[in-house]
């Protein structure tokens, strides 16, 4: 009731502006990009600044704003509520949006690793000094998750580690805790605050470089983590790379333009893409919602929403 009155009042006040601005199907003048929480805010803004410049030029927009949410849920709620236009989500984050409203966002692209694969792994990393080499050795130790809406940092370890250990993570480990994003999670294991941390990784290339992409790679590149002190103790089945999505309400023309813009970015500015995506990638490849059906099903079965 109240909502209708308020919406009505708003419609009246915006009539004047509506006469001058065009229809919703035209490209918006302001694009709001949500950036998933995971890495510290300064690094996220720095890495994505060039993306904002590219989008601004390609869309002819007046303004492209970057919103680094404190956690994954900030971006999820922003897309659902209509306060964010574009975001790159993880598969589980996309599933969260999809399960709440199937038509809220449309996935258009995902990243493609140097070998052409469009998937990555959740890997469990632990300090070498613990002297343990596989996940089954960690009974009664502590496990660090990244974010409750992360795929490789929560959903997949939650459902796949028990396949190796035989019991639920809550029972196998003495304690499991969310460390607030992938970067913090890896650092928690590196500093010995938890025994194993599960994070995203391409799983390709050399362990000494932190593999070709993912959180481990980012931290190695930054020099915050010395790979020779770590050991991989667990690896998940292949997880589909997260999608770049736009709010469906913005229309298909917006989606097409977005695909062009990202492909253009991959083709012309490899350095920018590597910063945005956190590692070496071949480019982007188109995706459909069906690509994430398995993750959506897993999320529905374990988390519910």
């Amino acid at each position: 009731m109240l909502k209708n009155i308020l919406l009505g009042a708003l419609a009246l006040t915006s009539l004047a502006t509506a006469a001058t601005t065009a229809f919703a199907q035209d490209l918006p003048k302001e694009i709001r990009v949500g950036i998933l929480g995971g890495e510290n805010e300064a690094d996220r803004l720095k890495n994505n600044a060039c993306l904002a410049d590219h989008l601004k030029a390609d869309f002819g927009a007046d303004k492209v704003s970057l919103f680094p949410a404190a956690d994954y849920d900030g971006v999820i709620q922003g897309l659902l509520g209509g306060t964010l236009d574009v975001a790159e989500l993880g598969a589980s984050g996309y599933a969260a949006v999809y399960l709440k409203d199937q038509n809220a966002v449309t996935p258009v692209l995902t990243t493609q690793a140097p070998d052409g694969s469009t998937g990555y792994y959740s890997i469990g990393l632990a300090l070498k000094s613990l002297g343990l080499s596989k996940i089954t050795d960690f009974k009664g130790k502590t496990l660090g998750y990244a974010d409750p809406d992360s795929t490789s940092g929560y959903l997949i370890p939650l459902t796949q580690i028990p396949k190796d250990t035989g019991v639920a993570n809550d029972q196998f480990f003495a304690k499991t805790q969310f460390n607030g994003g992938h970067e913090n999670n890896l650092l928690a294991a590196y500093d010995g605050k938890v025994d194993v941390a599960v994070d995203d990784s391409s799983g390709l290339g050399d362990f000494k470089d932190g593999f070709t992409s993912g959180t481990f790679r980012k931290e190695v590149d930054k020099g915050t983590v010395d790979p020779s002190k770590l050991v991989e103790v667990w690896r998940s089945p292949l997880i589909p790379n997260g999608p770049i999505v736009y709010r469906t309400a913005l229309g298909e023309a917006f989606g097409k333009k977005l695909v062009e813009s990202y492909n253009n970015l991959a083709a012309t500015d490899a350095k920018c893409m590597s910063g945005v995506e956190g590692g070496d990638f071949k480019g982007y490849s188109p995706v459909k919602p069906e690509f994430y059906q398995a993750i959506i099903d897993v999320r529905k079965a374990t988390i519910g929403q």
Binding site: N4, L7, F178, G180, A188, I303, G304, Q305
Partner: protein
């Protein structure tokens, strides 16, 4: 005023004074209006700036104010009780949304503490321990910092500055700092709330001490009491009732602080609340909010009762009579 100035008998000098006064009054009024306008412009400007930097703008998002509440309504209201007491729900399909019995904390045999009660106890414990830390710290520092009792300016001023520093940082910032050192958990939360609490209580305490009656102190000085004896027998008896009042107030504040820190620091009920809100679990969220509400109510009532018992009924009667 106008009738006065219109009066023909008015001497020219009096007339001049009146006009001068009116001019000054007008000027002052103008300055007031200008000042108010300036503040308003600043306020509107800064709000506009804040709004521009938000992804959603205030006016256009206002109609969606209650969207948030729609998911809160559970499909079955009984699930709220089931979530609160960890009783299996008929809707349980193995998902996090309805896995109520999973969180049971078994104490012995079949007797269990429901998960949310356990988490609430952890939260209250954190608040309680940090209030005790704050009380001891405040008690220790306040007499050194109070002007009338301070043994030396060399001690008073540096300690006062340190206390300001303790108060300056919100608990959540200190918690973040300690989380980086000793990992997230109850200890980091206790240190964070405790440090802030020491700073806050020292300030409240020393202000009470500075208002104390100094005649007992003079008497004690006259008979040769040392500093500790003056504090113990001259100051403390006067100020202790107020100290306890403030400490109990602080306990209520600390329960809230501990809940909030829990949301980011994996301690107690805060994180569970944050997670269930972000997941859109109506029944769980309502159960948690209900538990929090009842807990805060009980803490408030308990501290009022305790204060009465400790301070004595006459303190309340005296205030009631307005003396």
């Amino acid at each position: 005023m106008t009738s006065l100035s219109a009066s023909p008998q008015q001497s020219s000098s009096a007339d001049q004074v009146l006009r001068e006064w009116q001019r000054l009054a007008m000027q002052r009024r103008l300055y007031s209006v200008l000042g108010v306008l300036l503040v308003l412009a600043g306020l509107v400007g800064s709000m506009w700036f804040a709004d521009e930097n938000n992804a959603g703008h205030f006016v256009e998002r206002l109609p969606h104010l209650f969207d948030f509440l729609s998911w809160l309504i559970p499909s079955d209201w009984n699930d709220v009780w089931r979530a609160l007491f960890d009783i299996a729900s008929p809707q349980d399909n193995g998902t996090e949304q309805f896995n109520f019995p999973l969180g049971r904390v078994y104490l012995w045999a079949d007797f269990y503490l429901p998960e949310y009660f356990y988490l609430m106890l952890v939260t209250i414990n954190v608040a309680l321990v940090s209030t005790i830390v704050g009380f001891i710290g405040g008690l220790g520092f306040c007499f050194i910092v109070a002007r009338n009792y301070s043994p030396s300016n060399w001690l008073r001023i540096p300690i006062k500055r340190v206390m300001e520093l303790f108060r300056a940082f919100p608990e959540i910032v200190i918690a973040g700092m300690f989380a980086a050192i000793i990992s997230i958990g109850p200890v980091a939360a206790i240190i964070a709330i405790g440090i802030h609490c020491i700073g806050a209580l020292t300030k409240l305490f020393y202000e009470v001490v500075e208002n104390a009656d100094m005649r007992p102190d003079e008497g004690l000085k006259a008979v040769g009491a040392n500093w500790f004896e003056r504090v113990r027998f001259g100051g403390l008896p006067q100020v202790l009732p107020d100290f306890l009042s403030y400490a109990l107030l602080r306990l209520e504040i600390n329960v809230r602080a501990s809940t909030i820190i829990g949301a980011v620091g994996a301690v107690g009920i805060g994180q569970e609340l944050k997670l269930s809100i972000s997941r859109g679990f109506g029944a769980k969220t309502l159960a948690l909010v209900l538990l929090l509400f009842v807990t805060i109510f009980i803490v408030d009532q308990f501290s009022a009762w305790l204060r009465r018992r400790l301070v004595g009924e006459q303190a309340f009667l005296k205030q009631g009579l307005g003396t």
